[in-house]
């Protein structure tokens, strides 16, 4: 339940590719919750959290994009100085290697939500919950 479906889309570094993705999602009335782009000189990977991940994946594939679903974790923390630092300390204590992370935009006042990608996702849930870290379930994330 804490495994969040993230969509990764391969994009060439060419004009209009990101716009093509967002246009397809708009047509299908899919809402983007969070997004980040990792890029190199020739290509990039667009990572998305959306309200209907399976449908989004199917529509993008149909349009010819290379799309993969990856499991990530959504962590809720206080919107105050030091909370991210504290959380990273917890990860370190647990011996968990962070591959990448990015933040959700526009959530409830007072709290922040970060998406993290780690190895061995299902093991990490347990470790984090034990340490008292607040995680969001799939339903909560898609309905945000």
């Amino acid at each position: 339940m804490y495994g969040i479906k993230q969509i990764s889309v391969f994009l060439e570094n060419k004009e209009g590719r990101l716009a093509k993705v967002t246009k397809i999602l708009a047509q299908e009335k899919i809402n983007i919750r969070a997004l980040c782009v990792a890029d190199t000189a020739d290509f990039g990977i667009l990572r998305l959290i959306v309200n209907r991940p399976d449908a989004a994946c199917a529509f993008l594939k149909k349009a010819g994009f290379a799309v993969t679903i990856t499991e990530v974790i959504a962590v809720k923390m206080a919107d105050s100085p030091g909370s991210l630092s504290d959380f990273l300390q917890v990860l370190r204590e647990c011996g968990v290697n962070l591959e990448y992370m990015y933040a959700f935009g526009g959530v409830a006042k007072g709290s922040a939500i970060n998406v993290i990608r780690v190895d061995r996702v299902s093991e990490v849930f347990g470790l984090l919950l034990e340490k008292g870290v607040a995680l969001l379930s799939e339903e909560e994330v898609y309905e945000l």
């Binding site: 990764s8 391969f10 994009l11 890029d39 290509f43 149909k62 010819g64 290379a66 993969t68 990856t70």
Partner: protein, 433 residues
């Protein structure tokens, strides 16, 4: 049915050679008499038809090239008056006039006969439904397969090329069991299946008869897996007759050449010296029975090698290897000779790669630059930049190791490279020579 023409396909070699010599002498004598430019070339070499006393003596005869066909466009190389010509095919040159080949009624019969052999060799018979998705028209692919498929009594779907959605609909609704087209088009159709909601299990395809361009065994395996067929390489060229000169039997160990009609030699393309069996060189064909456009020692520019060992399928006909490239397709990059098919082999042997690629050659600061663009497979798990970069670096290193040239590898989106309904265009050469 195992053989279409057991007598000729399984002939004892001595007996076959006697037949070849008899037919060669007849062909040379007829061409000498009726084709002016051939007679002139023979005179220039000081050779008379009567000098051909053994098969080896073919080496005395002049070569014929595509340039000859251009120079004597349209009719000067015809061996029969137009009243005896039943059909004319043409192969387009990229520049200028096409080359034109005339067929007598007898030539058309022989052509359909050798194509019938080919189709029988892959396992097809009168119960099959054969969809021909080669272009019909001046190109020999469509009508060549059409007449051969008619000869074995199969039900023919003359789909021609293009309109891919209809191709898939026909294939599914009519239950085609054999597909004939270029390998790149077969691959493209397989990609479209998913888009039109058709699974390979919905099709009844058993065999794919693919040719008209150089392709690799890796691509054959890919097509076999995607379409659920056994893929057979068919070889031929308009200048010789069209498709049907040779084909892979079910043993899949090379393509059997119908040697009773097409005499094959392999030469060193530089020195023009005839090479022994097993050595790679340029294929040279002599048509032993064709009358419309007598074809003697035609230099194909296709590179391959041959073996005359008897095949496990029982046929004694010589076998040629998959074409490794055309000397015309050869790229010279910083002095190294490279064939697109060699790069295709590297890609398909690696895994996590796709057979859709394009080569761009350019010259920057007087240095040749090769860029290999490859579509990433649609089902690749690709969340990490590092994995993708590792894939590109892996391909680059493998090409460097195998071919001895450095290149840039660019990963591109699925289905972003141009698709072809006929022969694939694999190279863009931007160098100004």
């Amino acid at each position: 049915m195992k053989y279409w023409d057991e007598k000729h396909e399984c002939m004892d070699r001595k007996e076959l050679e006697r037949l070849q010599l008899f037919r060669l002498q007849k062909t040379v004598a007829a061409a000498y008499q009726s084709v002016g430019p051939f007679r002139q070339k023979m005179r220039d070499k000081g050779v008379l038809p009567g000098d051909v006393k053994t098969l080896e003596d073919i080496r005395l005869l002049p070569f014929m090239s595509k340039q000859d066909l251009r120079d004597y466009y349209p009719f000067a190389l015809f061996g029969k008056p137009l009243s005896e010509i039943a059909r004319i095919h043409a192969s387009s040159g990229t520049t200028g006039k096409p080359i034109v080949i005339g067929y007598t009624k007898n030539d058309l019969d022989i052509w359909s006969e050798v194509v019938a052999r080919c189709l029988t060799m892959v396992g097809a018979d009168k119960n099959d439904i054969i969809q021909i998705s080669y272009g019909y028209g001046l190109f020999t692919g469509g009508l060549g397969l059409h007449d051969g498929a008619g000869k074995i009594g199969a039900a023919v779907i003359p789909a021609s090329s293009g309109n891919s959605q209809r191709q898939i609909m026909l294939m599914k609704d009519l239950g085609a069991t054999v597909l004939c087209c270029t390998p790149s088009y077969a691959l493209y159709l397989s990609e479209l299946l998913a888009e039109f909601g058709v699974k390979k299990e919905d099709l009844k395809l058993k065999y794919a008869v693919l040719g008209a361009e150089a392709w690799t065994s890796g691509m054959a395996r890919e097509i076999e897996q995607r379409l659920g067929v056994s893929a057979h390489n068919i070889y031929g060229l308009t200048e010789v007759i069209g498709p049907g000169v040779a084909i892979e039997c079910q043993a899949g160990q090379g393509m059997h050449i119908s040697e009773d009609h097409f005499l094959v030699e392999v030469i060193d393309p530089e020195t023009e010296e005839v090479l022994p069996d097993g050595m790679t060189g340029e294929l040279v064909f002599t048509c032993l029975t064709k009358e419309g456009t007598p074809t003697i020692r035609y230099r194909t520019r296709d590179l391959s090698k041959i073996t005359k060992e008897k095949c496990s399928c029982g046929r004694t006909l010589a076998r040629m290897d998959r074409i490794m490239g055309r000397s015309d397709d050869m790229l010279t990059i910083r002095g190294v000779n490279v064939y697109p098919s060699q790069i295709e082999s590297v890609l398909l042997d690696m895994g996590q790669t796709s057979p859709n690629y394009h080569l761009v050659v350019d010259r920057v600061n007087n240095l040749d630059i090769l860029e290999v663009q490859m579509e990433i497979p649609g089902d690749l798990a690709l969340d990490g930049i590092r994995q993708l970069e590792a894939l590109a670096v892996g391909i680059r290193r493998k090409i460097e190791q195998t071919l001895g040239i450095s290149c840039k590898v660019t990963l591109v989106e699925p289905r972003s490279l141009p698709r072809s309904e006929g022969k694939a265009k694999r190279v863009t050469d931007r160098r100004k020579m």
